[in-house]
Symmetry: C3
């Protein structure tokens, strides 16, 4: 109850709007034109190696009410965070990261550019998440291969991959570029680029070419029909990624057809 609510040591950019009842700790840097909602804690003290390390939030961030962000992380410009999320120490995130409400980022994670987490996403420590990845509600990226063990085998999500609602990604799983994990699937091991993963066994059910919407004709790779939601600077990356995923799918179809012939 003693310290001032907004630390004098925090570096707050120009035109930053801060709500009521917001605690901003030391070691915090917030870029210009950012918005912090009511009841947030920014720069919460971390333990271990991250104690006293800076929290650097790029310009144009919007962080909604009741969210807690620990010290010891870096976020590129245009960060968006929903309500009541928790982001712990040791996150290195690129540009335009969007995090929904009720997310739980346990820290020690690398995140590329233009990544989107819907509500209630749980990111275990040690995860590496590529550019343009999408994660949907109640997905868990785990990391302990024999819980409780103290071992940490983080999950890797390739560029442009999609993990759907309530999927549990088992420890040490690598999801290839542009792959699609269906709702309630439980992937493990190495999931090839362009693959479709389904069910409790995390079975490879084919390629993402199977994902076609009857009424509209929209299909995967999603970059073929969804790029308009991204900022202009993402467009070239999206076009390039689209081509690569199409090649991945081609290759995987050939491989799977070969397996079926044998």
């Amino acid at each position: 109850m003693a310290k001032e609510l907004i630390s004098k040591h925090a570096v707050i950019g120009r035109n930053v709007q801060i709500g009521d009842f917001v605690r901003i700790h030391d070691n915090v840097k917030i870029g210009d034109n950012s918005v912090i909602g009511d009841f947030c804690v920014i720069g919460h003290p971390a333990g271990g190696d991250f104690a006293g390390r800076p929290l650097d939030i790029g310009a144009n961030a919007v962080i909604r009410s009741h969210t807690v962000v620990y010290e010891g992380s870096t976020f590129g410009e245009n960060l968006r965070v929903g309500h009541s999320s928790l982001i712990r120490e040791g996150v290195k995130a690129g540009l335009n990261l969007q995090i929904g409400s009720f997310n739980d980022l346990e820290g020690d994670v690398e995140i590329g550019n233009w990544v989107r987490f819907h509500s209630n996403v749980h990111i275990g420590r040690g995860a590496i998440i590529g550019d343009l990845v999408w994660i949907f509600p109640y997905v868990v990226l785990t990391n302990d291969p024999i819980p409780p063990s103290g071992l940490k085998y983080g999950v890797t999500l390739g560029e442009g991959s999609v993990v759907c609602t309530s999927a549990v990604v088992l420890p040490g799983t690598t999801i290839g570029r542009g792959a699609f994990v269906a709702a309630m699937a439980r992937p493990h091991g190495n999931v090839p680029a362009g693959a479709l993963v389904v069910g409790n066994q995390g079975k490879i059910a084919g390629t993402i070419r199977k994902l076609k919407h009857k009424e509209t004709g929209k299909q995967h790779p999603w970059m073929s029909h969804f790029s308009d939601y991204y900022p202009p600077e993402a467009q070239m990356k999206i076009e390039e990624l689209h081509k690569l995923v199409l090649l991945d799918v081609e290759l995987l179809e050939t491989l799977l057809a070969g397996e079926n012939r044998e």
Copy 2:
């Protein structure tokens, strides 16, 4: 930090108790005899079509601490909301809605009377939820048929249907009146009235007549043994619904028996 915490433009009824550190925005109307817990944000600004639209909360509401309700929604009398829930813009809800803690209503949803959500329910945009529906923890009503696509195919839950823990209702699913979705089921398509849905494939495993409790003899439809938890004005509706669901079950049993004969 400039604006008053409780807007002068908000219309607060008689005998309303408001906790400490509560933000009430403009455009908010709260009915008589309501209770708002500490650290709530009521009437949070919405974007898009709902910006500046009123939030109308009926009389006798109880909203627990740390909850955020956006502008642009309407709730009938006797609303109950737990702690740390998020309710976004565009909700049209009837009487006696009960929402637990950690719920995430994404907005743009129609909800009937005497509906109950347990903790941690996620309601995607576009859902239509009938009277007397029950939803249990970690259920997700999805809406994107080919994520990420920007398409929105909301879920419809018929009157008196029940969706159990950790079920994921796939986009565009219609759950018939009085149907029962088992824990961890993943329903899709058109689920007939009175059906029992189970498993990752969302299989129709028969009718709700299978749901009988050995020790007590209690069985489905649940309206046969649970109406005492509802207010008197719901009783007639419950009796009527009970009869309709019994007919639904009768019809579905005949249909399923026919399929089995073929």
Copy 3:
């Protein structure tokens, strides 16, 4: 808005640090050297039988920001609670309980010593949780055998058992000592001590002897390699439990082998 934030009737120990914007109600007792984060509500009024009953939190507790603890519960020393958790009335917990963030303890639950809940654990009413149990994210301990029914068949978790991510434990289930519930499993009935449970059907897939990590050789029972994370006073209990679980596994292997021969 009238009452003082920290009740004069609360009994606060020596060297207790209380954050800003913290509400502490009457009937609360907090042990020495505890820490309460910003925006917490401690001793929230309960309804029914627990109204006005004391909340007793042992010494050296740490409760993180935005957490709500109801009156009518008892916690032993060294309690740890993460951010934005909800703990309702009627919890009786032993020493060194660790509760992560976004947990939802619905109340009316008994918890042993050295128990650990990760983030987003949901504990339904009526649960009984033994010493040294581990529960991982998005696990639900349910209690209603025919929802909605008003019946309450709580779950029992034996000493040293482990329930992994997104498992749903069905009402009235008893998990034996040292058993292991895999991610996304749905156990029911009586799970024998030392058993491994998998899948949507909650199948007994053998004993925990199957759980061996190839690279490191670490294996179950976990007490064989994980005791260093516990305080010294837990060591003797852990050693004793380890021996008992090894005997359980021996017995179960014999039983399962006999079933396979028949």
